[in-house]
């Protein structure tokens, strides 16, 4: 269902809101973002693992920061993006925005899991234990459960319209709670060293470390866009399976083969 667009074509923001228009656009964007992600990741890893000097207290083990911090940022950024698309869905009632939210969720959950995994691997050499009850790791754990809740809810409702709306409501409730959870966990326990990238402390990290970190974050961002776009294409195919344009899209290679 797409709100009928009557404005002139280029002005019409709903032009790409229709799955039929968005599908080929996403198809063209995916290779672009994929190559960007790979290039940025290689540069970041090379800079971080091979060029950057050792850290004063933590020696070489700190290099996990180049994986832990980008994944944590992405986990939070993706949840905010999910909430944004959910609000779009509830206000503009465009189906595609709900599909975007559902396409983002698995990647966000994976990023949260990787953040926990790398956090644990980083904690072992530094603090001697696999799991450290520190503020940010704990709130990341709860964020991971929020992701699982969103995925479980949207997958267990059969009817697409209801699944979209229920998922949107949950994402909005969740995004209200992420800061509350983060604040309350931080109040509860401030064991974790201060934010390694806080504005005033940025200088203590060598410039190469900083650049490597930002490169890796950009790479993670590009990666998230690539997987989201490809998963949203799958969702579009699944949802629009009975429409003529999908039949043509798939039927042509069928009778060719």
């Amino acid at each position: 269902m797409k709100p009928h667009a009557d404005g002139p074509r280029w002005l019409n923001i709903f032009h790409f809101a229709s799955p039929y228009q968005f599908y080929p656009l996403a198809g063209r964007l995916i290779p672009l973002f994929a190559t960007l992600a790979v290039l940025l990741a290689m540069a970041g890893l090379w800079l971080g693992f091979a060029i950057a000097p050792a850290d004063a207290q933590q020696g070489e083990g700190y290099r996990i920061i180049f994986l832990h911090v980008p994944t944590s940022w992405m986990a939070m950024l993706i949840y905010v993006a999910m909430a944004f698309w959910s609000v779009m869905h509830l206000i503009l009632r465009t189906r595609l925005s709900a599909m975007m939210a559902q396409a983002l969720a698995p990647t966000g959950a994976l990023m949260a899991f990787l953040s926990l995994f790398t956090g644990a691997l980083w904690g072992k050499p530094m603090w001697g234990t696999w799991w450290v009850w520190d503020a940010r790791l704990t709130s990341m754990l709860l964020l991971f459960f929020l992701y699982l809740g969103f995925i479980a809810l949207t997958r267990s409702i059969d009817e697409p319209d209801r699944a979209d709306k229920a998922g949107s409501v949950l994402a909005i409730v969740g995004v209200f709670n992420v800061p509350v959870i983060y604040f309350s966990v931080k109040w509860w326990n401030t064991l974790h060293q201060g934010a390694s990238i806080s504005m005033e402390k940025g200088s203590t990290m060598a410039s190469t470390m900083l650049i490597a970190m930002l490169l890796m974050s950009l790479a993670a961002w590009m990666y998230a866009i690539t997987t989201t776009l490809s998963r949203v294409r799958n969702l579009i195919l699944q949802r629009e399976a009975r429409t003529r344009w999908v039949q043509e899209l798939l039927a042509i290679p069928a009778n060719k083969a």
Binding site: K2, S18, P19, Y20, Q21, L45, F49, A50, I51, A52, P53, A54, G59, E60, G61, R63, I64, L67, H68, T71, P106, T107, L110, F113, L114, F117, T118, L121, W122, K124, P125, Y223, T227, S230, R231, R233, N234, L237, Q238, E240, A241, R242, T243, R244, W245, V246, Q247, L250, A251, A254
Partner: protein, 69 residues
Amino acid sequence: MYWNNLSDFIAMGNHGVYVWGSFFACAAALCLEWVLIKSQRRNIVRQIRRSATIQQMNPTSPAVSKDAS
């Protein structure tokens, strides 16, 4: 180049297990997700094709509806 030889680079100041462990875990997870998306796409396409062929066999059920977009 910070490291002067390859073995130090691998040892990573005897934290190698953790650093390379997390590196390979991330790499494996991302590739796995990419593979899953591709296989999901294959399943969907196969499913649509199968329902299209079923549709050709007995064209009673109205599988193809008007263009929805």
